[in-house]
């Protein structure tokens, strides 16, 4: 089925080709392959960008195609990151603790091991007890299941409540924002069991691969992120290309009409909301091992709004638009805020982009909304279609 779909869908093939080319170039130039044209940190940045592209594609499906301006998808992204982060942190701490306990004359009891790991992890919030939510942290498969299950269930429950009572439009946006706020506030608490505002750290160290260099790890994650983006893109392209796409775009354009055609709109919205939440969780689970640290500030409502900004700038309702927007804006953002952009000397005043980037972003976003509602992707459409 998917093959037939790929044959008929030109833009997906183009996208996959471009992504494969890009991945091959970066992989070839990475330090791990020996050429060292691209630094490990650059590979990490690009890998993270691919994850952001993936969540942007998900956001595009839920917003651009289904018309639900969710200001909560970054929360799902963060949950995915936390879920994988728990395993990473547990595994790494366990390794450290076992090494130090091995020097003792008397072999440690399981309780002592658990206390020592707990003390290491939760010492910063004044505890050494393992909270209930860490029950599966020792197991990678279970924790990977959490990456999918927790965002999925949260989206399912929240979406069911919201869509059932027919909350739409800006109300729904505010409600999703409230959900995100509640989650980040919860995580900020020290007794949330996830180390409060310290978050989880040291995630770039993969348990069992202590000897592997970061160059290799970064390349592996980069490739995994590229694969995830490719799969996610194909999945969503397939979803929106078929009759499903017709229905969800119908919901976006005229919800009542779809209802009177006999479709249970709530079910479709819930499907899209939950599916994109799960993909967001997966994107987060790939992102944070490359970032190395996750804390509740990452989940704050503003992050989800930035996500909407990327998709809007890239162009809603076209998946490659979301990818372009996320890649462009997030890379530009780190270029500007990282001091990469040269200062502009106006004589009286020196514009330092670290200070002025957000002003520029905010204003250009307003301009995009006003003058290019279809975003960069719309421009792209225009160029591609012109010859025909």
């Amino acid at each position: 089925m998917t093959q037939g779909f790929l044959v008929t869908n030109r833009s997906v093939r183009w996208f996959l080709f471009t992504l494969a080319l890009f991945t091959a170039v970066i992989a070839f130039g990475s330090e791990a392959s020996g050429t060292g044209i691209f630094s490990t940190s650059l590979v990490k940045t690009l890998g993270k960008t691919l994850c952001l592209c993936l969540i942007a594609v998900a956001m595009d499906v839920v917003w651009g195609y289904c018309g639900i301006l969710s200001l909560g998808h970054f929360a799902f992204f963060g949950i995915g990151g936390y879920a994988i982060g728990m395993w990473l942190m547990y595994g790494r701490t366990e390794g450290i603790v076992m090494t130090s306990l091995a020097n003792q004359t008397i072999p440690p009891t399981p309780q002592e091991v658990s206390d020592a790991i707990g003390g290491q992890i939760f010492g910063v919030v004044g505890s050494s007890e393992f909270p209930l939510i860490w029950s599966f942290a020792h197991s990678l498969p279970l924790q990977l299941l959490m990456v999918v299950l927790v965002p999925g269930l949260l989206a399912l429950v929240f979406g069911w409540l919201a869509f059932r009572s027919r909350v739409t439009g800006v109300y729904l946006s505010i409600l999703t924002q409230a959900m995100t706020l509640a989650l980040s506030l919860y995580l900020f608490q020290n007794d949330s069991g996830l180390r409060g505002n310290n978050g989880l750290s040291g995630l770039q160290n993969i348990p069992g691969f202590e000897q592997t260099s970061q160059a290799t790890i970064s390349l592996v994650f980069f490739l995994a992120s590229a694969a995830a983006l490719a799969l996610g893109y194909v999945l969503f392209a397939w979803v929106v290309a078929g009759k499903m796409g017709s229905v969800i775009m119908g919901i976006r354009d005229n919800e009542a009409r779809v209802r009177f055609l006999g479709y249970r709109v709530e079910g479709y919205k819930l499907f899209v909301f939950t599916l994109t939440a799960i993909v967001s969780g997966i994107a987060g689970a790939l992102y944070y091992p490359q970032a190395g640290i996750i804390n509740p500030a990452e989940i704050a409502p503003i992050a989800s709004i930035y996500l909407a900004v990327w998709v809007a700038i890239g162009g809603r309702g076209r998946l490659y638009g979301a990818v372009i927007g996320a890649a462009l804006v997030s890379l530009l953002s780190s270029w500007f805020t990282g001091g990469g952009a040269p200062d502009v000397n106006l004589g009286l005043y020196r514009i330092q982009w670290t200070d002025w980037w957000l002003v520029l972003l905010g204003l250009s976003f307003v301009c995009v909304t006003l003058f290019f509602p279809k975003g960069i992707g719309g421009l792209f459409d225009y160029l591609v279609r012109k010859p025909s």
């Binding site: 008397i106 072999p107 929240f158 007794d191 957000l358 972003l361 905010g362």
Partner: protein
């Protein structure tokens, strides 16, 4: 100290100058007793001193208890004295003449603790009736700090003669406290305790708690005495606590922590094992217990009860709490009084909480009402609303840089903040929002773009650190209604401001031409336009009005919170919730929403006081659920915004 005393004596001397008598002869008459006082004999001496009625008695007694009296060995004359190395500064008890002498030849009087207490009691009597109100106050204060059975009599004696009404009430209150604890007759104590049942002060509660103090009891037999309660292990007392009580009563050997066991084992490794357990097997608790037991049997380490042994020990004992006070009638009375006090305290706490909630609600109302107006009339979500609040607060800050008088600066800042944010709102409406009508999600995002630009702009101009917006002096402090209920003036001011704005907005909407037109556009824009109302102008004015109110809210919020570039973001989500919960586009709805959210937040904080973050989390969850059941808010609206 002595100099003050001397001056004080002098002052007293002036007052009682007419009958200037000397204390020294009286002292000499009882010299032996003063030099070597005992609890039994001191009474007569004190009586004599008191009978003399001399003003010098008080300072003398004070100095005496303070070890500030020296006696010349040669003629047994007493002086106030202060030793400095080998020298002694002497002050004559009657004349106040100061002399410097070597220490030899003088003896310091050192009354023992019992005697000092007797003297102190006598002294209290003087201090409590002292003509100087400051001294009486300080005597009362020290009495309140260190209540003592002996002080009850003198305190009671001094009540009738007290001229100052407030002080008299205070004396009566203290006398009640003392009687409750120390009155000799149980009936007096019970009466006093009952009189405390409507006193919610912290002191009264402390007195009652003191009477209800308990000591733990552990034993195999049922406890004697005035039993407060029998503790059930598991319900009232954890097994570990119960065991540590057994240990404290020397009934059971102390529990040995697992780390100590491990250390003990590590210290006793012989031939690659401990006892008969090989080292490699010591990785379980059971094996370690076995090894430790072997060591204990050998006498190498202190014995330790097994878990079963501990459980048995706990099970075979009775744990109880016994009142220190023996008389059950008194503890019962104290119990009754305390529970009545606690009911009152709970009521007052509730009132305090309600006041807190009210002021929080006022803030939310101020922050949200502008948003509600723009959302209701224009269906526009203004994400930059929080930044308008911030602009208002910074306006206040800038004004204070130029106008040093805080009262005047606030008076200037309020209208200026309104003007500036009104202008900003109108500009934004003209440049951006006007082009995005009927595309609410785009408006949301575009205004968000403006919001991040404004926030960063403020950061660039004012820096990241918090700027002060100082309130006028007359807003400092708090209105204290009782030990429990108090509210700061600034919050009262914000409440008043919120009320003013409620009135003002209602006036504008209901009584002015603009309000009429705004309501017309809200209800039916097409019809309004066909009746000659220019919706464009109305939208502009409405947006300006909403933004202007945000500016004023900013000044108000800045007065009690810090002014930062991110302060708007702190309020924006709550403001949205207020609007959504209250029902869009309705002043009363916003008021209801703000009240609900304010009270809810304070209520949750009250239930979980340690954790304000949790309170906010639960509040947001509540709001999400609330929207489920009332998607249109408390006060559902009809008209443009209500039409889907």
């Amino acid at each position: 100290m002595l100099r003050i005393l001397a001056a004080f004596c002098l002052a007293l001397g002036l007052v009682t100058g007419a009958q200037a008598q000397d204390l020294q002869p009286v002292l000499q008459a009882h010299a032996d007793d003063i030099t070597k006082p005992s609890r039994g004999t001191i009474g007569t001496t004190l009586d004599a001193l008191v009978d003399s009625g001399l003003p010098q008695v008080t300072p003398f007694l004070e100095a005496w208890t303070d070890k500030g009296i020296w006696q010349r060995e040669a003629d047994s004359v007493f002086f106030y004295g202060r030793a400095q190395g080998a020298d002694l500064t002497l002050t004559d008890i009657d004349t106040g003449t100061v002399t410097e002498v070597p220490k030899s030849g003088y003896t310091e009087l050192r009354p023992n603790g019992g005697v000092r207490r007797v003297i102190g009691t006598a002294l209290v009597q003087f201090q409590l009736s002292d003509p100087d109100i400051a001294r009486r106050l300080s005597a009362i204060d020290s009495l309140a700090r260190r209540p003592d059975a002996e002080q009850l009599e003198p305190l009671l004696a001094s009540i009738d003669g007290e001229p100052d009404a407030a002080l008299k009430a205070r004396k009566i209150q203290l006398a009640n406290f003392l009687s409750a604890s120390f009155a000799p007759a149980p009936a007096d104590r019970i009466a006093a305790i009952e009189s405390l049942s409507d006193d919610t002060s912290i002191e009264a509660r402390a007195v009652l708690n003191q009477i209800l103090a308990t000591t733990p009891y552990v034993g195999t037999a049922a406890p004697d005495g005035n039993v407060a309660r029998i503790l059930t292990v598991g319900d009232d007392l954890s097994a570990d606590d119960a065991y540590s009580r057994l240990v404290a009563a020397n009934i059971a050997p102390p529990a040995i922590p697992s780390t100590a066991i491990r250390d003990a084992l590590a210290a006793n490794i012989i031939d690659g094992g401990v006892g008969d357990v090989p080292l490699a097997q010591l990785g379980t608790t059971a094996a370690r217990d076995r090894a430790y037991a072997t060591l204990a049997t050998a006498g190498t380490v202190p014995p330790r009860l097994t878990d079963q042994g501990r459980a048995d020990a706990v099970a075979s004992h009775i744990f109880a709490e016994i009142y220190v006070e023996d008389d059950p009638a008194i503890t019962d009375a104290a119990h009754a009084a305390l529970s009545s006090v606690e009911t009152r305290v709970a009521a007052e706490r509730f009132a305090d909480l309600a006041l807190d909630a009210l002021s929080l609600a006022s803030i939310y109302f101020l922050a949200a009402i502008g948003l509600a107006i723009t959302f209701g009339v224009m269906g526009v979500i203004n994400m930059a609303h929080g930044e308008f609040i911030m602009m208002g607060a910074y306006t206040g800050y800038v004004v204070q840089q130029f106008v040093p008088d805080y009262t005047l600066s606030i008076v200037v800042a309020l209208p200026l903040a309104f003007a500036i944010t009104f202008g900003a709102g109108v500009t934004m409406e003209r440049l951006v929002i006007r082009h995005l009508y009927h595309r609410p999600l785009e408006t949301l995002l575009a205004t968000f773009g403006i919001s991040i630009a404004l926030q960063q702009l403020a950061k660039n101009i004012f820096g990241t650190q918090a700027r002060p917006l100082t309130s006028p002096g007359w807003l400092d402090g708090a209105l204290v209604l009782s030990d429990v209920v108090q509210i700061s003036y600034i919050r009262i001011a914000i409440f008043v401001l919120a009320l003013l704005f409620l009135g003002l907005i209602l006036f504008i909407l209901k009584r002015t031409r603009l309000g009429l037109e705004v309501r017309a556009v809200t209800q039916n824009p097409g019809m309004a336009a066909s009746m000659g109302i220019d919706p464009d102008r109305i939208n502009m004015m409405t947006f300006g009005l909403g933004s202007g109110i945000a500016g004023i809210a900013g000044v108000a919020i800045g007065l009690y919170a810090k002014v930062t570039s991110e302060m708007g973001a702190d309020y924006i989500v709550q403001s949205f919730m207020t609007v959504v919960v209250g029902g869009v586009g309705n002043v009363w709805g916003t008021l209801a929403g703000a009240t609900l959210i304010g009270f809810l937040q304070k209520g949750i904080e009250f239930l979980n006081p340690s954790n304000t973050l949790a309170a906010q989390t639960y509040m947001v969850l509540f709001i999400i659920l609330f929207i489920q059941f009332r998607p249109k808010g408390i006060v559902a609206q009809k008209g443009r915004a209500a039409a889907d």
